[in-house]
């Protein structure tokens, strides 16, 4: 009898190679009845495909069940999970999609956005972070769950349109259209807001722990100081994202 490691490693490898309806002699694992082996194979692929569908719902709706399942099987075979916690499975699925379905270049971005929504949605905390001094006597606080991400496609609109069943792979929505998105957890769910370049860079720098001066310096990378400050003032002041406090004491 082979060692336990060899037995388990071969068993796992054969299960991943096994097709749901291929010939019975394809595994070469002769000690097992392949029909029964398939019961295990089907459980594994079904669970993992469901886990991927749960995270990448927009991709599923966009490309349809048959294409999604085909992509999922390829991904599962190449990147089987490393942990029992299935909601964490599929972190490299966006990159995999870009190689598996290169004719739809938006899919990687859409999948990356799905992952972010899932990650932020799993956070319980809706707490605000510590106060950040942005001007003399003015402080702002950002949600601890805040994530900033740039996309080449209008992933927020695509997600909303697929959820409403009003788009498909031929839609103009899937043409390049860059987005600077900020995502955070609220008591009602996940909030998403799209910002201009300067404001996005400013917020991104703050979430990375930069001081206000450095955040402003990053914001003016792509625009003048006046334009950047005006955009930040207008967008951030009016955003539900931040909590403000004003102190008249000297800081």
């Amino acid at each position: 009898m082979q060692s336990l490691f060899d037995y388990q490693a071969q068993f796992a490898t054969h299960l991943l190679r096994l097709n749901s309806d291929g010939p019975l002699d394809e595994t070469g694992f002769e000690e097992f009845d392949v029909v029964r082996l398939r019961a295990h194979r089907d459980t594994i692929f079904r669970s993992l495909t469901r886990a991927l569908q749960s995270t990448f719902g927009t991709i599923h709706r966009l490309i349809g069940t048959a294409s999604f399942e085909k992509a999922a099987v390829g991904y599962i075979r190449e990147f089987p999970p490393e942990s029992a916690i299935l909601f964490q499975y599929g972190r490299s699925f966006p990159q995999f999609l870009s190689l598996a379905l290169p004719e739809h270049p938006c899919l990687q971005d859409v999948a990356r956005f799905d992952t972010l929504i899932e990650q932020v949605g799993r956070q319980i905390s809706t707490e605000m972070g510590s106060r950040i001094c942005v001007a003399h006597s003015t402080r702002l606080r950002l949600p601890r769950s805040l994530r900033c991400a740039r996309f080449e496609y209008a992933v927020d609109s695509i997600r909303a349109a697929t959820a409403a069943g009003t788009t498909d792979l031929e839609s103009d929505l899937l043409l390049p259209s860059s987005r600077n998105l900020v995502i955070w957890r609220t008591s009602a769910g996940v909030a998403i807001e799209c910002f201009s370049g300067p404001t996005f860079l400013f917020l991104e720098a703050l979430t990375l722990g930069c001081c206000t001066d450095e955040a402003i310096a990053r914001a003016i990378d792509t625009s003048s100081l006046e334009v950047a400050v005006a955009a930040i003032e207008q967008e951030v002041l009016n955003s539900p994202l931040v909590a403000w406090s004003h102190s008249y004491a000297q800081s």
């Binding site: 336990l4 490693a9 068993f11 942990s83 799993r122």
Partner: protein, 271 residues
């Protein structure tokens, strides 16, 4: 924290959380899969609410007790955190494996009952009990694929694990029935082998699948006739069963338990 009563409980899945939280049904206890609650997330706050009113059991699928490797450190620590938080009366997993060479396949894969596998299971159960600081129950698996012939039979293998680690047994009647049928054996003889080989006091819980066939119910009666009543769970494996159906089946199990219970099967539900 509430103690699990010697009564019929129900396996709780996320699809039923809202209903249970809203209606607070008369159910003796609930069993949940800890993997669904590891890490933060909305399900975790559901469990916080449910645990205020019901005794809980944690029944895992991710420890991979039969793996050649030790249980994953992170997973075990996360399970420990859940156990410390919810103080469940029962914690269990399966006599199977899922994890090898960096791959974790989400199924309860069959273990060959060899001496090397026995050594690995005993080492892994010791490790889990050491980290959780409590005894666990191990469930007999369904085993669709029979695997190679080995010296030890399942009951003998499990008995050795129990004797060497002090863990208990979660007897899944459906699995026992299914394995016996898959291997061409008589389910009654298989059950008798379990009851004759394992210490009777090691049986800490029984699982019954929802919509179990009459033969399974008959095996259940035979088991509690010998063991006396032990906490029994109506488990839901496939499809989305209506919660009312699970409750109705728990009531059938409860009625059978009442026949064998000196106390007449009374149980307390915290409301």
């Amino acid at each position: 924290m509430y103690s699990i009563p010697v009564a019929a409980g129900v396996g709780l899945r996320p699809q039923h959380h809202d209903w249970v939280i809203q209606h607070r049904p008369r159910t003796a206890w609930f069993e949940v899969q800890p993997e669904a609650f590891i890490g933060n997330g909305p399900l975790r706050s559901d469990l916080e609410m449910i645990s205020r009113h019901y005794p809980l059991s944690l029944h895992g699928v991710g420890l991979s007790i039969g793996s050649v490797h030790l249980p994953e450190h992170d997973h075990l620590q996360q399970l420990r955190e859940l156990v410390l938080r919810f103080e469940p009366d029962l914690v269990s997993d399966h006599l199977s494996w899922s994890n090898v060479a960096g791959m974790h396949l989400p199924d309860l894969l069959p273990l060959p009952y060899t001496d090397e596998a026995l050594h690995a299971v005993v080492r892994n159960v010791h490790r889990v009990q050491e980290v959780l600081k409590r005894e666990i129950l191990l469930e007999n698996p369904a085993k669709y694929a029979a695997g190679p012939k080995t010296r030890l039979r399942e009951a003998e293998f499990l008995s050795e694990v129990v004797l060497r680690t002090g863990c208990g047994v979660l007897l899944d009647i459906n699995n026992l029935h299914e394995r016996a049928v898959n291997e061409g054996n008589c389910p009654i003889s298989e059950l008798e082998a379990f009851l004759a080989t394992l210490p009777l006091e090691s049986f800490g819980e029984i699982h019954l699948g929802s919509s179990a066939c009459p033969e399974v119910w008959s095996l259940y009666q035979r088991a509690i006739g010998r063991l006396g009543v032990v906490p029994t769970l109506i488990e839901w494996d496939t499809g989305i069963a209506d919660f009312a159906l699970l409750q109705a089946e728990a009531a059938v199990a409860q009625a059978l338990m009442d026949q064998y219970s000196p106390q007449g099967g009374a149980f307390a539900v915290a409301v």
